[in-house]
Symmetry: C3
Subunit: 674 residues, 3 copies
């Protein structure tokens, strides 16, 4: 996938979703003037405008859009032009109620919210193609248009529909995937519970059943639902490519597992001209900046390491979480520049001006209800200036120390019913391993299980329950080639159809780890186990233990108590020129740090003990050797960050040598001369 920058945008992107149709036209001039004051460089327009663009079937009203696009263009503000296909109008549903999605339980949703789309609906496809074609023809060559923004956050709020149209499409998709029904019977294991199908025509979506549904059917339905969505995206994309050549096409992803569960972004990432992402802090009391860093790194992974663009985040609180705290002073800038450090070519927001009505009126905006005499507006203007000062980083790439293997299909499979324990949560393991790496000041690339790993000294696999034989071979080859591999429990267990790999657990990872697992032995809530290891260091685990039998691996920590008392708990296997670690219980972040410290030593990674906790240092590097060191101070004290080389701090303009002082809560970006 080649990376395409927004056309004609020669600065970092700064701006937000702009919905002029919510305001009288007399407000527009003020909007554009304030955008200029704030340094806005691009806005996203038209995302939810179908009902005003096409107020009746086939009757279009582009006048307002012509006028606002012209105003923006005059002001030098680039336009990320939305296709409005995320929210068909009321008239569409009145004519096509069958295009409303249906739940697993058979309930058809109603119009009145957003995103109520059956992605198998021919009527939807036709209507979406028509309005997108009209837009593309009218604005495809407009000089203001920098980018096409198709639809909005595909996959939320509803990703799969279970209606009869989808049932028919699913059968067709299955026939294409399996060829014959016996191949499907084998893959799905329909011999179990008498589920054998005599014909594709007998198959339905995994609707509500009296007890657990066939797990392979469920997995395939999630794949199918994603494929239907991607097909609707590519249909719009191809039309835009045809009618608006040279303008890149994107759709805003929500790559963070905390924001969207249903999209396989390894598959989706390759379909867009540039990867854009929406990210919102999850304010549940955990460290939001770690959560943000994970999301940004994962987005970069989806972009194959190339630059990407943060298309939405928030200036302060959102409105859709159970509690929506405000951001602290400076937090918005740290968030924005945190994304930029990890590969974003700018920082954009939902939304420009706070809505007075509708579902999101308590969501923060660049211009709050209180207007310009507010803290938020002042910080927005300051951020605009900061981003203007960083234009030269465009096109550089973030530098990683290690890789983390992540896979959406494996995550889905771990969330199926009737697992050894419902307390195991793949996303929690991902978060914890990531946090431990973050606290070791290691920058991480996310990669799929079959990626080329040879460039990474350390590869961490937090939860790869579903792993193909190819993935197993890839991880083995990596370790044998001299890499250091760390694998968490319940990995390598099943194939792509949720079938247990033949032989003892952990299936395709037995050889590289040098062990078998005889039985899973999950713990009841509140129960803990003690692990004894080198130098009498004790660790504590919970949720999960196992009966590990070494076949070449050495026990580094062993269970001192619990169901597996006396057996190995954490093992190291010398394999080829490398090393493979296995962690068979749930450790918290602090305990993981101990284990990852040993693995990092195996991988000869630096310690970075001179950097305090919550001081984030990330590098972007140009092909020309320029290096930009981002230092983000999330603490309340000034810190000194050691630099490898002298340089110039871009936000203050100061020269820096040796150690960079970063005030409390501040961000500094040094271009080093090497």
């Amino acid at each position: 996938m080649p990376h395409h920058a927004p056309k004609g945008l020669d600065r970092l992107a700064f701006g937000g979703d702009y919905n002029p149709e919510q305001w009288p036209e007399e407000v527009w001039a003020e909007d554009v003037a304030l955008m200029r004051e704030a340094g806005v460089t691009m806005v996203s327009v038209g995302i939810f405008s179908w009902a005003v663009l096409e107020p009746e079937p086939g009757r279009y009203d582009f006048g307002w859009l012509d006028r606002i696009v012209a105003l923006l263009h005059e002001a030098g503000i680039r336009v990320d032009l939305g296709t409005p296909t995320a929210s068909p109008p009321a008239w569409f549903y009145r004519a096509h109620p069958e295009a409303l999605p249906v739940t697993r339980e058979g309930m058809r949703y109603e119009f009145g919210s957003r995103g109520a789309i059956c992605h198998s609906s021919p009527a939807y496809r036709t209507a979406a193609r028509a309005v997108t074609g009209q837009l593309a023809r009218r604005y495809g060559a407009h000089p203001a248009v920098a980018m096409w923004h198709v639809n909005n956050e595909y996959g939320v709020p509803v990703s799969a529909c279970y209606c009869d149209t989808c049932a028919a499409a699913f059968r067709e998709w299955l026939a294409g995937r399996y060829g014959g029904v016996e191949a499907l019977n084998d893959a799905w294991g329909t011999a179990f519970w008498s589920q054998r199908y005599g014909d594709f025509a007998q198959i339905n979506p995994p609707r509500a059943t009296p007890t657990v549904v066939n797990p392979a059917q469920e997995l395939d339905y999630q794949r199918f639902a994603g494929a239907q969505i991607r097909a609707n995206f590519t249909a719009e994309r191809d039309l835009l490519h045809e009618l608006s050549p040279g303008v890149p096409v994107t759709t805003n992803f929500m790559t963070a597992p905390s924001q969207c569960e249903s999209m396989d972004y390894w598959a989706f990432g390759s379909e867009v001209d540039l990867v854009t992402n929406d990210h919102y802090l999850i304010t549940d009391g955990r460290r939001t900046h770690v959560n943000l860093a994970l999301a940004a790194d994962l987005t970069r992974g989806v972009a194959g390491g190339a630059p990407w663009l943060l298309l939405e985040h928030s200036t302060s609180g959102v409105s859709w979480q159970p509690r929506n705290p405000a951001k602290a002073p400076g937090e918005m800038a740290r968030n924005s520049l945190g994304h930029v450090a990890r590969g974003s070519e700018g920082a954009m927001f939902f939304q420009w001006r706070a809505s007075r009505r509708g579902a999101e009126k308590f969501h923060s905006a660049m211009l709050p209800h209180g207007g310009t005499d507010t803290r938020v507006w002042r910080e927005v203007r300051a951020l605009g200036a900061d981003l203007a000062a960083l234009g030269e980083i465009r096109g550089t790439r973030t530098v990683a120390d290690a890789a983390v293997v992540w896979d959406w299909e494996s995550w889905w499979a771990q969330r199926l019913e009737w697992r050894p324990t419902e307390d195991h949560d793949a996303r929690e393991r991902l978060d914890s391993y990531y946090e431990a790496l973050y606290d070791r000041h290691l920058t991480v690339d996310f990669v799929p299980p079959t990626a080329d790993l040879t460039a990474y000294p350390l590869v961490v696999v937090p939860a790869l329950y579903l792993a193909s034989e190819a993935a197993g071979r890839n991880l083995r080859a990596y370790a044998e080639g001299g890499g250091t591999l760390v694998v968490s429990y319940f990995s390598g267990i099943v194939d792509e159809h949720d079938g247990v790999h033949p032989g003892a657990y952990p299936g395709v990872l037995r050889d590289v780890l040098g062990l078998t697992v005889e039985e899973f032995a999950p713990l009841l809530p509140g129960r803990h186990v003690t692990l004894t290891g080198p130098d009498e260091a004790e660790l504590t685990g919970d949720v999960w233990t196992e009966f590990v039998v070494p076949h070449g691996a050495e026990a580094v920590w062993s269970y001192a108590d619990g169901p597996a008392a006396g057996r190995p708990a954490i093992t190291r296997h010398r394999v080829g020129a490398g090393t493979a670690w296995y962690v068979s219980t749930r450790l918290d972040t602090a305990a993981l740090d101990t284990v990852l410290g040993l693995a990092a030593a195996d991988a000869s990674l630096p310690e970075r003990a001179d950097l305090p906790r919550d001081v984030e240092v990330v590098r972007r590097r140009g092909e020309d050797g320029r290096e930009f060191v981002f230092a983000i101070n999330h603490t309340a004290a000034e810190v000194k960050v050691p630099l490898d080389a002298p340089g110039r701090e871009l936000l203050t303009g100061d020269g820096v040598d040796g150690r960079l002082a970063v005030p409390p809560g501040a961000v500094r970006v040094v271009r080093t001369v090497s």
Copy 2:
């Protein structure tokens, strides 16, 4: 609304729901004899009798009702005669399954419980009118009939139906409300998320949607559902007025927010000839007598300050709460006389004789399963005697010290989705402010936001998120005119369509409070903030904080920590001749007492420090100057209540001078001579 007393009832009402159709006729004579023994003066008959009154469509059986009404009349017991329209019979639903209500998710309820009514159903309206007409014609002039009791507890168990009949009625109602669809689009803010309607025909009820539904649509649907219910009530009422002139018509409300969430009693209260209410203690561990006092005061507010009647409460435990504790000895009498103190012209119960079968057989009754040799029966008889001794209070009015502004629409709006925090709960704020006033021994009138407030030295606004401009003007005029106003956070924010008032928060209350709120900053669970104030008095808040910017108001307490550290937390604004307080965080009852103490001092209200906690003193006053002091001792110790004037205690007949001794758990009522 003129207050009408039950016709021919010259004593306080005492009795209960009486369902003779559940018993063989040989039991009736015993019933009437025991009623006489207990001093029963009125019973409610026929509320759930449709299936026996009209066993087949159009075939009526009034024989049994004739006989029991005659028996009661002979015994001098007045009849509150029910129309049975809360529970249509099985045959009705067999013929009209479309009259069963449908949930938001499209599920149609089944017959077999009670109150399963689509209030838009033409078939229901026709059938209800028919049976009510028959009753009215037969009993409209019967000398036993004191009152008509239409339906039962409108609004529970189901208040809104989402069927296609309702959808059509909703469209009609909207057309009447808005005139044209563009006015609706403006009011609902349909420009957001592409929800614009081209025609009323495109609109449906707010059925289940993939994510949050349009909030104005939701609010209007609640209004519509209430209007449909009121229309069904007024149809019966008008028929009864026509066929039974001179007999007042009521329906039993459940005004307490803990008992019914769906009815706007400000709108409903003006439709009845006299306000009657059902109230049940919520036994969740909090002080039930405070909860009762609130309900009684609110009912009096719905009656515009006039006397009202408690039509149902319980002698001991109910059966529909998760846990249903029994009442302690004396508690029933304190409950009953507590209602009377706050305006009720008697105390009636559900129900006379405990049912052996059906859903409520474990609900207490005046005559328990165990018969007359029981504690409950003995207390019932004693209560009958007490009420007989208090007949002279009829027609007098309860005297209030302060007003609390409450509004059902504002409550509904606060419960919509996607608010700043789900931990804010308007009812909780109402309860807490009320409890703090109760503990200061202040009697409260409840008033709507646009009521004339000039008579009140103190007005408290616990949670008025939705406030019209008229409400804002009213509160400002009140304070400017010399009143003392106390407003809690998240008030004055939106208009009647849930649209944010233009400009900074708190919209229509900015001026009177002398401040703006830049941002809401809700707290995560378990987090607290410290407030520092006068004389180093510290308070603690949780759930909610804000960035308050004073524009005239002075900070009385400020945040010492938390997101708004250093900013004002509780402010006082001198406005015109009065004062407006603002409390920007959630204080518990004890902390509220501190703030309300200062406000009460501003309002020159008395301290009443001589009354112990949980001793309730309430006054009723006649137009002729007679005053009745109710003293209810909820404690386990005798207390002495100071009196302004000597008088006579009506339950014991004793003369009282200066200080009234009230035994533990007892009630005393003194007629003072002034």
Copy 3:
């Protein structure tokens, strides 16, 4: 019900569910060889094979089954042959979607799991009869076949369907039960809430209603649903009896209340030729061996005291609980022999070989994914040897010390809505009373309320809310005849239609207990009451208290505080030649032990203070006087169990005299010579 042993099985049953259709035929030979190695004597085949036996309507494929049955027969392994009617194939549902069950809310389940059957469906009955007939004709006289296994775990995962077919069948069933609709109106108490029916045609199943449904209707629907299931069982059974004479027919029950809530096993038990049961440990942190003992005793009760057969349990963890711990070493053997001690004629498992695909691949098996070099396989082989050594116990009967009255209908009734408190849980009371008896080392028979109790010195009634007059008379006669009766609160309250028995609580138990209960006074969560009793022994209760009025009973403990302070809490009534105890609050197991100790003394039961906690001693006795003492040591220390007579330990072959040493975690079985 005569007990029939599996035909041709001359050893204890040992084996499991065997699903060869999940594996290629080349695996079968290995399976049979390993079965022989492990000492397997019987396997259950074909339970979920419908889709492979009848791949298209009317086309049968018996070849594979012929081959595997022949293989098993050659190896001397008996076959428990399943009728596959628990899981109709996909083609069946495509032709008969109306046979999919419908929920109370009207949602029709989809195919894709298991057990999705409307038991009123004529199409299902026809199809089930056809396939069972084919099987019976082909294998009815096959020498390998030891037993017919009809369907699977009737009652789970779905027991009741609410479709229109069921509605019609329910009306017919009601007409048969009540004769006329007025009898139904009386029984259901339809005078309450205007629910009177004019005709059976007006009645529907208790589908979702706006609030609580008629409780008698709900109870009758549960009875009806069970009757439909039993009718489907007996239809298959009668066909098998006809076509396969001499081969006993069973269906695997799940008698433990923790595993199936919907079946009335008192009614079902008499329909099978031998009682078989499935039991799985509930791993919620409580003592699993007590839970197992209860299940085994209850199964024996369902079998009328005769031997029965454990048809499924697990070698280690299951996969369908929230958390599925592995079994500890030795635990499987203790479980298996615990069942045998309490009457099972063997120990069988789900399943032989772990499935690679489908819903239960993480369920343990006799042959795990890891194969034969595993702890589980080694323990399986050892268990096979142990069972082989115990063959001579076949036909003997477990000896009980006391009886516990249990009734499924009463349990259902206690779970209806609108009870005095939702914290009362009949199953919890059953568990607690059972656990207290277990800890006193008393072996218990379970009996229905009208059973002949004369043989038991002690009868405990933990929760008999619904009790017929006959039950009341039976319990009274038992006590008057010299028995010792212990009754827990909320017993004897209602008749079979959930109607309160006339007069004061506890209805039909007033006389035998010598008291009335004026009111229930449940406690709020976290509240406790103190009971003072003999020798100043204090007990603590929670959840429930009452106002008990003695009429002959003496107060042994009284409430020292709480709502019933000063009233009797635990009473003893000398009645006739016996004694009746009443416990009016919820005591925990330890407090129950105190009360049951006094009752056991009244009943002259032995103390067994020489047996440590968690050492289980159970006896089976032959008609010929042989006695087998099972001693199961659940502790981590060796224990010495006193024996009444010398004997031979059957697992070790050692002679034993006086005291039997049982190593930690071990089981010993002594045949005593008396």
